[in-house]
Subunit: 133 residues, 2 copies
């Protein structure tokens, strides 16, 4: 599986060849949502190996920027992410994964289902966070 | 509105203070979904000014990495994004915006509603893109 083919702008945007535009660190952004209700679970990053393993196995793999290592999400918790659907954006630097989370359904390291557990609101002119989970 | 306060890990993850963790380029990731049906529309980036303007006006502003300029989405097309809801993730380096798109409802520069108009599938062992819009 070769994911590094170079394409011109038109082929990248209007073609059927997957040619991810990895950034200077070799990463694309992965937006991960619950396949059931669409809730955004997390935002992560994939390098070429993580993307290839995700496509080959159907289980989401990422690149951990903090640990600087390949990361099969769920390998310690059991909360693997089974990829139901994946989309790529126009310029191929972002992926949208719809997943089913195994185990107890927790994605966030804080123990919550989603990493996006706080709403940003404004109190007068100042922003304030409100917990939603 | 001050968005640059430094917080320790616990306050950042479990507190009610918005303290975005801008990256080396001064940006956070903004994941933008349709407030109606949850469809992922685009992935963009905000610097501090774009985030402040978004909070103050309720209209999404971004930082254009290609044009290196502040970018009020819709200023040329009329397809402004009215922010219905905004969430921040655990470590405050990503935002999830649920928006209503004004005008003709187009978000992608290709003229499509969403930038994620192609599904990534596998044909045998090779990935292939299938248009969904």
């Amino acid at each position: 599986m070769n994911l590094t083919s170079k394409l011109d702008k038109n082929a990248r945007e209007e073609g059927t060849v997957l040619a991810p535009r990895f950034d200077a660190n070799g990463l694309v952004t992965a937006v991960v949502a619950d396949a059931g209700d669409g809730t955004l679970l997390m935002v992560a990053h994939m390098n070429e190996e993580a993307l290839r393993l995700t496509l080959e196995t159907g289980i989401a793999h990422y690149w951990s920027r903090s640990r600087r290592t390949l990361w099969k999400k769920g390998e310690t918790s059991g909360n693997f992410q089974h990829v139901v659907e994946m989309h790529v954006d126009c310029d191929q630097d972002a992926l949208w994964l719809k997943v089913e989370v195994a185990g107890d359904g927790v994605t966030c390291h804080t123990g919550r289902r989603s990493c996006f557990y706080r709403a940003v609101e404004t109190n007068g002119t100042e922003p304030v966070l409100r917990f939603t989970e």
